[in-house]
Symmetry: C2
Subunit: 209 residues, 2 copies
């Protein structure tokens, strides 16, 4: 029996070096009915990035029009570029029972929590996971391990990641990614469990006869 249900809005944050991207991409391979919310940005596409897949690439004018129209769930300006999540990316899908993943930073997550954290409809939908590296030492090792970045860039990302890690307890669940397979199992378990939240079932998930 497949019971109609509301989707969840699943915020996943994790600093640079947490392994969040790897974990998320495996999660999408494993689960159906789970979709990324594609963020908007005013920064230029990099490398292979495709409009509408990796980001919605917007001009500053377009982005600011959305701000004025109150179209964003959250948005922020980082290093001179806007980033934001459109309501239209989320609400229709949640209504249809699709689980929408918001891969956003701590700043965006806190903004959502503050704006919508006490709204009953959001409370029904909103879930959040923080992915952390096991230690600052390991974090630094991972950031240096990439071997491609300038020292100044590494130090900046390290400081930023540590700062984000202080917000771990603003999230409902925390996964410490020490071992990738274990962390992957934890993430799968969370998704499966959150699909059993009774608040999101539109009717009883058993036959009433």
């Amino acid at each position: 029996m497949t019971t109609p249900r509301y989707g969840m809005i699943l915020i996943i944050s994790g600093p640079s070096g947490s392994g969040k991207s790897t974990l998320c991409s495996r999660m999408f391979e494993e689960f159906s009915g789970l979709e990324f919310s594609v963020s908007c940005t005013t920064r230029a596409p990099r490398g292979e990035e495709k409009d509408g897949i990796d980001y919605h690439f917007l001009s500053r004018e377009e982005f600011e029009k959305h701000i004025r129209n109150n179209d964003f769930i959250e948005y922020a300006e980082v290093h001179g570029n806007y980033y934001g999540t459109l309501k239209s990316e989320v609400f229709d899908r949640v209504e249809k029972g699709i689980d929408v993943v918001l891969d956003i930073d701590v700043q965006g997550a806190l903004q959502i929590k503050k704006k919508f954290g006490s709204d009953p409809e959001w409370l029904r939908s909103l879930e959040s996971i923080f992915i952390a590296p096991p230690s600052y030492t390991e974090l630094e090792k991972r950031l240096r391990g990439r071997g491609t970045d300038a020292e100044a860039s590494i130090l900046k990302r390290l400081a930023n990641s540590k700062q984000e890690m202080t917000c771990w307890n603003e999230y409902k669940y925390i996964i410490v990614n020490d071992d990738l397979a274990t962390a992957q199992k934890a993430l799968s378990g969370i998704i499966s469990t959150l699909r059993l939240r009774s608040a999101r079932f539109k009717e009883a998930p058993f036959h009433e006869k």
Copy 2:
């Protein structure tokens, strides 16, 4: 790294015929750090039941003294016998990080939700799972399948189970026990996931150096 944490208070309810007892006993085999709260009752021990293991068997006088002392988290009188959960069974263990399972009926669960549902310390600890059979038809089949009970007793339990099933959405999670292995996996996933709730960690679960 093992981070000190508060235990959870996990209410598990499921009507007669849901398979709750089988699921719970397997859960205790699988997880350590998970303990049953032993209920008190004034009914006489049956068969192999042991005092302090299956129940704390109390006299009516002893039970009523605990009521007057406000020692119970919840209690009820059912068919002329008292049943109840002592605070002392729960709180010390939660503080020590032990997860305490309350195998109680819907009436008791609703009582706890009403009494403590908005208390911040309880909110941090309280989790609840409802286990349901896949349909009323299957429920009846299971209750009759035991083959030992009188018709009147079967009909009474069937009516009671159906009544309990209307309260499924008072619980945070619901498991529909259609297939035992699948239900078992769902229950394990819920326990593992609830152990990742950041609210219950007493400090950051990663090394801050």
